[in-house]
Assembly symmetry: C2
Homo-oligomer: 307 residues x 2
């Protein structure tokens, strides 16, 4: 499939800003700040929809961004967990996805700026995101008015932070939507080989470097790092979105199967021709917009009905 | 989970009428007609929704039942392929599901009364259903106004008849919904063991007997008998519904994965607590009604918009 020129140019630009991470992860360079800033600035080029306001806040100790639509129903809130392979990405690159979600769900969207590897390896990202969720609950927002979503590493954390919350005895949110999740750091899914080179933005070699930086010696099969191995019993309904061109295709399907085997209500959607986190392209690609609409509809079903 | 008394009684009655097939399949009895009649009569107790008419017709050489709602949009048609392990079941038992679909989709629902094993083993059922589809096309109904759905053996045929149609060069329908499909006669999915005895209506021993009668020596892995092995490239969007208590859970998830790996747009929904073809219980169980509504919404998205 040929994408239109705007989409193709953004994919090319994504690859350009991603290239800088290779030398950093290999220890041949150390200017993480510049590479991360360029990456976030690239992502921020996806437009923020009209009619939302953006504020920098703190969720307990964790810096965060809150995106607010014109109308919020019932104190509804989404915890959105951005991607970036646990080494890059920041809320500033996700005003587009968050703004779309905020309008579609009439919910405030909270994006924690969790700590990144290799400076802050596993489990820092999960700890910070769990702290942000605990802070949301401490504000008095009912758990059945809260949903999680996230992409890539954040798609895995959509599940792993719920598992951590369950272990801590916290009430669970109403539902979750894992967009192009990276749920298995063992990379044992067949598509890691069959889609390598076909996924236009992610490749196996890059994922191996990021996984190593994040894990810092923790086993790849640690259930908090790879939720396909986690005790997911009792989790709320989960939607998994995965593109058919993605290297993560097989592992995302395995995540859905693992959830289903463990009595979690799960919906898996495989989108032909789509690539890693095509939801970022909601403004440029009809499938991006449509995918966010479907994710919002799935989450909306589990949220408390308006009083 | 305890079901309400009406549902539990019907499950018990289903098991009662199913028991008769054991001696038949083992060759210890030969009154197939009575067993099949009792089975169909039991299924016919699920109520037919108001506002549909039911006619016996022929689709070419194949006897069939047509269910018509008060309003039909754009000549829309569904080919509904009933279940019954390839040895039992008939359209007379499916006026409920067909009537619900007819009203939800504003479509005529056609149910071929395909030949059954062991009298007519593989591939008779698939040949008859394919002939019925060819007849629908011959009536001048546009393929993009046609959808397939089916349950259990008919859920597998929802895919295998599309594969056969593709092989014959026929145009494909707009979409399909496989309800609790039985897609792998090798029975290699883990849930064949982990859910045996938990699925309240189907068990592995019974499936093995029915598969043997149907296959009549054909290998279990024949792609027309077990569509998890079929060449499914180019198929239209497919929805897979499976209950989390079903022995077919793992194989249904494998069907979804196989479709996704082969670039088919696929949605898999795993429903906690649900059992084999709970859609039959649309009148008695809220989840049955809800599942048919979701299947209809999925199919509707792919059908030609009203002119």
């Amino acid at each position: 499939m040929k994408f239109n020129q705007v989409v193709q140019q953004r994919i090319d630009a994504w690859n350009e800003v991603s290239l800088a991470f290779g030398p950093l992860l290999l220890g041949e360079s150390d200017d993480w700040a510049t590479a991360r800033r360029n990456y976030a600035n690239h992502q921020a080029q996806h437009p923020t929809p009209a009619g939302v306001s953006v504020q920098e806040i703190h969720m307990a100790e964790v810096p965060a961004t809150m995106v607010t639509p014109q109308e919020v129903i019932n104190d509804r809130a989404m915890l959105y967990i951005h991607g970036g392979g646990y080494v890059a990405g920041s809320p500033s690159g996700y005003h587009g996805i968050a703004g779309n979600y905020a309008k579609l769900l009439n919910a405030r969207v909270y994006m924690p700026d969790y700590r990144l590897a290799p400076q802050h390896p596993f489990p820092a990202a999960i700890e910070d995101t769990l702290a942000a969720y605990r802070w949301l609950l401490d504000q008095g927002i009912a758990p059945d008015s809260i949903v999680f979503s996230g992409d890539s590493a954040g798609g895995a954390m959509t599940v792993s932070v719920m598992v951590a919350a369950k272990r801590e005895g916290l009430p669970l949110p109403a539902a979750g939507a894992a967009l192009s999740p990276w749920p298995n750091l063992e990379h044992s899914g067949a598509s890691m080989l069959t889609r390598d080179g076909i996924d236009p933005t992610v490749n196996l070699a890059g994922l191996n470097l990021m996984a190593k930086a994040f894990l810092n010696g923790t086993p790849k099969s640690d259930p908090d790092a790879s939720p396909i191995f986690a005790d997911v019993r009792g989790l709320p309904p989960i939607l998994v979105h995965i593109g058919e061109r993605e290297v993560m295709l097989s592992d995302a399907m395995r995540l859905a199967a693992h959830l289903g085997e463990n009595r979690v209500r799960v919906t898996l959607e495989v989108w032909p021709d789509m690539f890693h986190v095509w939801h970022l392209f909601a403004a440029e690609l009809p499938e991006g917009r449509k995918a966010l609409e479907r994710a919002a509809a799935f989450l909306d079903e589990s949220l408390k009905a308006p009083c």
